[in-house]
């Protein structure tokens, strides 16, 4: 079973591959080389907003999210990840009722 995260990156425009690479780097920094091997997929990437939907197995979700929170630098510049929505059901990332303007 998977968990899906809708996240965006706050720094500069990067490509999808670099984006994934940076996530791996931050996992490696926080949880070391062993945890850096956890598999995750960038299911969808939107370069204009630097926003991605990432899928990670349930067992690794906590560590994954932990390292996103603690990611501090990208190429020496401060950066951050914003987690918009997280769900074990991918369909629920279709929309968030909290941010919808009626």
């Amino acid at each position: 079973m998977y968990y899906y995260l809708d996240i965006s990156f706050v720094n500069q425009d990067i490509t999808a591959a670099l984006f994934k690479n940076h996530i791996i780097t931050s996992i490696k920094h926080v949880f070391g080389e062993i945890a850096a091997a956890i598999p995750f997929d960038v299911v969808k990437y939107d370069p204009s907003e630097i926003r991605a939907i990432v899928r990670v197995t349930q067992d690794h979700y906590v560590k994954f999210r932990g390292s996103l929170t603690l990611a501090g630098y990208y190429q020496g510049k401060p950066c951050a990840y914003i987690v918009h929505k997280v769900s074990p059901l991918l369909l629920s990332l279709l929309g968030d009722s909290r941010t919808y303007v009626h």
Binding site: Y2, V43, D59, L90, L94
Partner: protein
């Protein structure tokens, strides 16, 4: 058990219930009836060249709902209001722009209960009787339930006067309301007129409708054994993400589940707004009749509730942890249906 735990961190639980059955029994409507405040509806139609007009129209016509800004909650226990709307037809309402994990929320259920989910501070200053929330062991949140339809709930009775008086002190909220009149000849907008006459800022909202067509899509066959993969595929398709072109990819290892079939056109329809369960019911009826007319491998319907509503499934208390989602997927083919229910975990926080 290790202390401190260092390796095995479990993800927050969520509940999934899968149910299948025959369409003729109409059991699939039961699920819909359990979730009253619906925000998002999406439909996937594989192998479809033209979407019948009546499917698109079902959630567009007569699905206006109203947004009323800065209402004091005492207006909602006004006896004229209760008699005119809550008692007749089906009235649902909920507060927006309030988060259920940190703010005070309100909702009105179709069976005439006004429910408040309040933080400890608000609850203690409000002075109405309530119960501690199931999810917080530390009693940080309380739920107050007021039965608007009770026979004793009318002016002159102590309880009514006191409730109204206390609700006056509560912060003003922005509400969404959806009212289905008891007879067809009553206009649903009369509820808007009622609030407009009271000089509130009433806005009519139309559901936001989107339609999309994707060409040459690999669509997995629908069987009961790969239900999780199938629902995942629905998500992948609905979000327009990469469906796996085959071959090794650095970014994603996702692939369309086998066996699949390729269809020229797959339609995706989405509505967002505020829907009652009756409106979803109607849509499902239209979809079932559409299936009867035309040969389709399957049709799927996804419905998502509001994150910040006081009650979720079966009017049980709702909360927000990693997400506040309640939703369900219904997949239909010509004879059978499958309901994939997704619920928030009932575990309480430590």
């Amino acid at each position: 058990m290790l202390s401190p735990e260092i390796w095995n961190f479990k993800a927050p639980d969520s509940l999934v219930k899968v149910e299948k059955g025959n369409i003729v029994n109409n059991n699939c409507f039961n699920t819909i009836q359990k979730l009253h405040h619906n925000h998002l509806v999406s439909v996937v139609l594989p192998d479809t060249l033209r979407v019948p007009q009546n499917i698109c129209e079902t959630l567009k016509n007569d699905c206006e709902y109203y947004k009323i800004s800065n209402v004091g909650l005492d207006e909602l226990v006004n006896i004229n209001f209760i008699n005119a709307f809550v008692r007749k037809g089906i009235f649902i309402s909920l507060s927006i722009n309030e988060r259920i994990d940190c703010d005070d929320c309100m909702c009105i259920t179709p069976n005439g209960f006004l429910l408040l989910s309040l933080t400890k501070e608000t609850y203690e200053s409000l002075g109405l009787e309530g119960t501690p929330s199931h999810y917080y062991n530390t009693k940080q949140r309380y739920v107050v339930s007021i039965n608007l339809l009770s026979n004793h709930f009318k002016p002159g009775k102590k309880n009514y006067d006191r409730t109204k008086d206390r609700l006056l002190t509560l912060k003003k909220m922005t509400l969404l309301i959806n009212w289905e009149p008891p007879h067809l000849d009553i206009c649903p907008s009369s509820v808007a007129k009622y609030f407009d006459d009271l000089k509130f800022d009433v806005q009519v909202c139309l559901p936001d409708f989107q339609m999309r067509t994707n060409y040459t899509i690999k669509v997995p066959n629908f069987t009961m054994d790969n239900i999780h993969e199938f629902v995942e595929w629905l998500g992948m398709f609905s979000l327009e993400s990469d469906l796996g072109g085959g071959g090794e990819s650095y970014l994603s290892t996702y692939e369309t589940p086998q066996p699949y079939q390729e269809y020229g056109q797959v339609k995706f329809l989405q509505w967002r707004g505020f829907f009652s369960s009756q409106q979803i019911n109607k849509l499902l009826e239209v979809l079932i009749s559409h299936l009867k007319d035309e040969e389709k491998p399957w049709i799927s319907l996804y419905v998502q509730g509001f994150s910040d509503v006081v009650v979720g499934w079966d009017l049980q208390e709702h909360h927000y942890y990693t997400n506040g989602d309640n939703g369900y997927v219904i997949v239909l083919n010509s004879e059978d249906y499958m309901v994939y229910q997704h619920m928030c975990s009932k575990k309480s926080y430590k």
